[in-house]
Amino acid sequence: MTKQVDPGTPLDSGVVLEARGLSVSRGGEFLLQDVDMVLHAHEIVTLIGPNGAGKSTLLSALLGIIPLSAGRVNRKPGLVVGYVPQRLRVDPVLPVTVARFIALSTPGAPPPLEWVKRFGCDPLLHRPMHALSGGETQRVLLTRAMSRNPDLLVLDEPAQGLDLAGEEQLHGMIDAVRRERGVAVLLVSHNLHFVMAGADRVICLNRHICCSGSPTTVRATPEFQLLFGDKLPGVGFYQHHHDHQHTPRGVVREQP
């Protein structure tokens, strides 16, 4: 093989996954265009963006579930990924228990009792998957993802369908897992509190990367204000002085 064929640059140490010029198109339309991003071990990165911004598409592309139309994704050799998809609804026609569902990911291995206990799934093990509530399903998905002993945990709106307490609990679990195992975490979240307090880095996506950086840096950008602007004052933990107004369509306008 000559030098002209790029074998993929070796990843810097500590990098678990990186995307270079990643694009995904469908029917001639770009869903994602020219995305560059890097994920390091021990790091929690949240992906935010409006509906239709391509957040789930980006996760699928990074994981190799859907094909890229341009660019590439480099993974650390032997990278093991735990994935919690956005929505899992098991059809009641398919009789499958929680234990079986978890075991499908690691055939032949003993059940991951540590994680089962940790995420409170022991009373669920013999229940059919289709009978679980939203929160129970999320805990089972998390157990299944961790049972693979992953280097990278990817979660697509894991707090969906959870009440506030459940959401807090979930975020606590994610943070604990990161601290203990050094797992890199990439998640899509609409929870402002978690984005601000829990994440090391925030990536703001709208078919391309609008902005990225530490939560405090990103918070100051207009894209972020557009997404969360209306929520910021009401939340209470984050006080800020409004030096501008929002038009009804959300555009930021300097105060006269």
Binding site: G27, S60, L63, I65, P85, D91, P95, T97, L104, S105
Partner: protein
Amino acid sequence: MEEFMMRALLSGIGIALAAGPLGVFVVWRRMAYFGDALAHAALLGVALGLITGWHMNAAIAGVCLAVALLVTWMHSRPEVPTDAALGIFSHGAMALGLITVALADGARVDLMAYLFGDVLAAGWEDVAWIWSGTAVVLLVIRRHWHDWINATIHEGLASLDGVNVARMRLIFMLLTALVTAAAIKVVGAMLITALLVIPPTAARPFSTTPEGMAVGAVLIGGASTPLGLLASYHWDLPSGPAIVLVAAFFFALSLVAGKKGRAS
């Protein structure tokens, strides 16, 4: 037992053995309409077999496969909905088949036998075809069983576990085409979907595992054949519809019994 009855029984039970494990996936993946489309298209295979002298089962399997591939290919054309594509290809192929049969000097061809089956006329060669087809289907499904269940629950999760989802879809279609070709002698093109769909659905209320549901489907399908044939023999009923009707009766029974089972 008379030999033709023996052959009919062996054919029917052979089909039930393959249709159970395949049918559970048809039901889980909501592909009943797909099975139906393939079965209708199979009539073009019959026509091709008649005018070219190719082997009938091979012609049927070939046409089913072609339709399956066309439908898969249409997935990449978002402006044509999948169910519409299925309807267009299956009925288009069926119409072409009917016209071909009519033009091919024909009139001598008993289309009814292909539409509704004629298992009492099955020869030893048919039995051999059915059992070899069944063996292939069972071996392939056994090999991919866990992966397929994984992908049926969530294709993204399965693909991270190393399951080749696209290949799985293709193999699944191949097997459905194969079973359709094998089953046409037993229940005919119009009723094949019934054999794929009714036994698994009837087995569902009594099943707590995927395996249990597949075994239940085989048992119910396997029991429908001798009972249907018996009814057909005694009351001179068409055999294919009799088998399907017995299976439908089991389904009705499962609705009642399944409800009681849950209540207790």
